[in-house]
């Protein structure tokens, strides 16, 4: 299971904060209009992980979420389903049942989400359990405790173990970028996770205030690009937390498209994790058709 740390660390070159943030900001000036806007709105739905991660989640809540995921707008069947629903392991059975045969995947957080601070065997059991329940995708958290103490071998070994526990399920590694302390570290954590076997790297748990931002995603996208260049491996990216408006969503699409290329603009390689984004996207689609942004009671609250 041991991974050599030489290669990923050699790719973990420094990142200039000011210039990175300026570049991200300049990409937000892309003006997305008419046909591009409609395509962007549809794509953001197709790439969405519709999420509920609350202690209060119940089978009923999950059923409601799944229905929304399968058919986001009952009045307009041209609106595509989302990529996946994202739930806690205990909710996976209900989500699997509700989405069976629809093409909507089930993603489960696992591995002592959101801190990751449990014994490794417990975390691996958590992953295996979610996979056994039928989850197609597993979102684990990076061991920030090990990362911040510089124990990169441990970080990588744990990701590799999680990947093995996933079996055929896709592994997304949440870096929790808001806790890493800067873009240099975000790039380093990205490189380590990718080298250790992550299929996706993901920004945030959504459980702390500092969630996904455009510069963070740009930084991770540049890491993915350099990893692909060095190894030939194509890794996906998931932005999650704090994404609430359609405009934010297409800013992410622009950043991904202009950094990694349009090959990455598919649900296989890009995801937007969100709980409240979908309704704004639906209302923006409605505005394209009618010229009016409808009120909150014209979209369903799930």
């Amino acid at each position: 299971m041991a991974c050599t740390t030489d290669k990923p660390l050699s790719l973990a070159t420094s990142v200039d904060q000011v210039a990175l943030e300026a570049r991200a900001k300049s990409l937000t000036t892309r003006s997305i209009k008419t046909t591009s806007k409609r395509a962007a709105l549809h794509l953001s739905i197709r790439c969405m992980d519709l999420t509920t991660l609350e202690g209060a989640d119940t089978p009923g809540k999950v059923a409601s979420l799944c229905q929304k995921a399968i058919r986001p707008d009952p009045t307009n069947l041209a609106v595509p389903p989302v990529a996946a629903v994202c739930v806690y392991p205990e909710m996976v059975d209900y989500a699997v049942a509700a989405t069976a045969g629809t093409g909507v995947k089930v993603a489960s957080v696992a591995g002592a989400f959101p801190s990751g601070l449990s014994r490794l065997s417990v975390r691996l059991d958590d992953i295996s359990d979610a996979v056994a329940r039928g989850a197609h995708e597993i979102d684990i958290v990076l061991n920030r405790s090990a990362f911040l103490t510089g124990d990169y071998n441990l970080v990588m070994d744990e990701v590799a173990a999680a990947k093995e526990a996933c079996g055929d399920a896709h592994l997304k590694v949440i870096l929790e970028t808001g806790e890493l302390g800067g873009y240099d570290q975000i790039r380093r954590a990205s490189m380590l996770s990718m080298a250790a076997g992550a299929d996706f790297i993901k920004t945030s748990t959504g459980k702390i205030p500092k969630a996904s931002t455009l510069p963070v995603v740009l930084c991770m996208a540049e890491a993915i690009r350099d990893h692909a260049e060095a190894t030939g491996e194509i890794i996906g990216l998931k932005a999650a937390g704090g994404i609430r408006t359609a405009k934010q969503a297409w800013h992410y699409l622009v950043v991904i498209g202009e950094t990694l290329g349009t090959d990455w603009l598919t649900p296989d390689l890009f995801r937007l994790g969100a709980s409240s984004l979908l309704n704004d996207v639906l209302q923006q689609l409605g505005k394209l058709d009618t010229g009016r942004y409808s009120g909150p009671d014209y979209v369903t609250v799930d």
């Binding site: 210039a19 990175l20 209009k33 395509a39 549809h42 794509l43 041209a78 202009e258």
Partner: protein, 488 residues
């Protein structure tokens, strides 16, 4: 299910031109009024992106320039010289606020007349122009503090000539300090981009600037020559090509006229192997393709450390492939039109020279419009120090890439041109930045960034890039005399 694909061919997002009202004909702005040129001579100004005719503009003759200088002299003696600084400041503040209020109108006109992308005129040129007026308005009543212990006076009538690359911003760089310090002005904008200066004249009328304090004479070389040779001009300021700058310096030297020159450049980006690579790539791209490379301080040479050269050049090419060349009014355009047919010819000549001298050319696959003046973003690799494209200013979207082994070699190559305007250093090591900045023969050195401007920060060059500074107290000092002991 969805059928439309989201890709990077963004749907057109055109800025509306309804906000500008271009007259058929423009006169000269002399003594607060628009007047015809003597003999009614005019020249056409066109949109370089479409070659569409925009307006006919009066061409000032020697006699017209004389009238303008007389008006400026009269205004100097009657209103402006003895007006308290606080009161002059009010006019400058008013101009600044008007520029902000009418920013969109100015930005669209700048793009129509000059060919630069609307995002640049909107987000860079106009905010910078307004900022310069605001900044210098603040100095107008504080000159005693700017030059402590010395009594300062104004020069009198200042002749100013500006280029076509940043018409409004250059007008602000020139006019604001001259007016703040109590000078009156005869101002000549470039002949390919006169319209925003003439719109500025309207603003000057609207803010009730006393007649003759600013006079705007439009025309080409002969008009400029008449201004430079006029015996009643007390100071000259020129921004433009090194060739014209030398002619002006000869004329000024003969009359011992105070002069500031901001001329060409051949700036080098120096990228060390410990730089933040992706951000350096971005900075290099912005540094040369900003405003189609029509920038005196454009980073037109890239010196990259040999150990990372191959990777860096690959990244550079991939980034350049993404540049969107096209309609300057489209908000998603990155690279607009070349300013004029003549400039396009000069760029093409030097690029031919680069190919003939053996450098390897790279241009992204982009379709250029048939109408208008266009040049694809160009990267030359394998450039040697003796190539013309490593020595001469191209003033277009063309980057010459060279490599170096050590900091000493980078320094030597960076300094080894007749110019000395600006440079960019890219490294994560602060001590290396300081070591380079100390030794680079350039008026401005940017570290891990490029093309950053602020009215408080002096800008200007060494060697054939000119002398004198614009911005900050250093820029202000070019417009005052400290040698009169209080007597004018």
């Amino acid at each position: 299910m969805t059928t439309e694909k989201f890709d990077l061919d963004y749907a057109p997002a055109l800025e509306s031109t309804a906000v500008v009202n271009i007259a058929k004909q423009y006169g000269l702005f002399v003594n607060g009024e628009f007047v015809k040129a003597r003999g009614g001579k005019t020249f056409a100004t066109i949109n370089p992106a479409t070659e569409a005719h925009l307006a006919d503009v009066a061409e000032a003759s020697k006699a017209d320039v004389n009238k303008a200088v007389k008006a400026a002299r009269h205004a100097y003696e009657t209103y402006w010289r003895d007006m308290p600084g606080k009161q002059r400041a009010r006019y400058l503040y008013r101009i600044a606020r008007q520029l902000q209020e009418r920013a969109r109108e100015f930005a669209v006109l700048e793009t129509l007349d000059g060919g630069k992308p609307i995002t640049e005129s909107r987000d860079f040129d106009l905010p910078q122009a307004a900022a310069h007026f605001f900044y210098h308005a603040g100095w107008a009543d504080k000159l005693d503090y700017a030059f402590p212990g010395r009594k300062v006076t104004s020069h009198g009538v200042v002749g100013q000539i500006t280029p076509w690359n940043f018409p409004m911003m250059m007008a602000a760089w020139k006019l604001a300090p001259a007016l703040a310090t109590g000078n009156t002005v005869v101002f000549k904008p470039a002949e390919t981009t006169p319209l925003t200066a003439l719109l500025l004249a309207e603003v000057l009328q609207d803010v009730d600037l006393p007649p003759g304090v600013v006079n705007i004479v439009t025309g080409a070389g002969a008009t400029g020559q008449a201004l430079v040779d006029h015996p009643d001009v007390d100071k000259l300021a020129f921004t433009g090509s090194t060739g014209v700058g030398k002619m002006i310096q000869r004329a000024a030297a003969a009359r011992r006229l105070p002069l500031t020159l901001e001329l060409g450049g051949k700036a080098a980006h120096i990228v060390f192997d410990d730089a933040a690579i992706d951000q350096a790539v971005e900075g290099v791209v912005k540094g040369i393709f900003f405003n189609q490379g029509h920038v005196c301080c454009a980073g037109s040479r890239l010196l990259v450390q040999e150990s990372i050269a191959e990777m860096f050049i690959e990244k550079l090419k991939r980034r350049v492939d993404l540049l969107r060349v096209g309609n300057p009014l489209d908000k998603n355009t990155d690279v607009g039109a070349i300013n004029s047919a003549a400039q396009l010819g000069r760029i093409a000549d030097l690029v031919d020279a680069g190919v003939n001298e053996g450098a390897e050319i790279y241009q992204p696959d982009c379709t250029l419009n048939k109408k208008g003046f266009w040049f694809a973003p160009t990267i030359f690799t394998g450039v040697q120090q003796s190539h013309r494209i490593a020595q001469e200013e191209i003033f277009g979207p063309v980057l010459s890439v060279q490599t170096f082994r050590t900091a000493d070699e980078a320094l030597q190559k960076a300094n080894n041109t007749p110019f000395g305007l600006s440079a960019g250093v890219w490294t994560e090591k602060g001590s290396k930045i300081l070591w380079m900045a100390d030794r680079l023969n350039a008026g401005v050195v940017w570290a891990n960034t490029y093309n950053q401007f602020d009215p408080a920060s002096p800008f200007g060059g060494y060697k054939e890039s000119g002398f004198g500074r614009e911005g900050g107290m250093q820029g202000l000092s070019a417009y005052v005399r400290t040698d009169t002991g209080g007597r004018s």
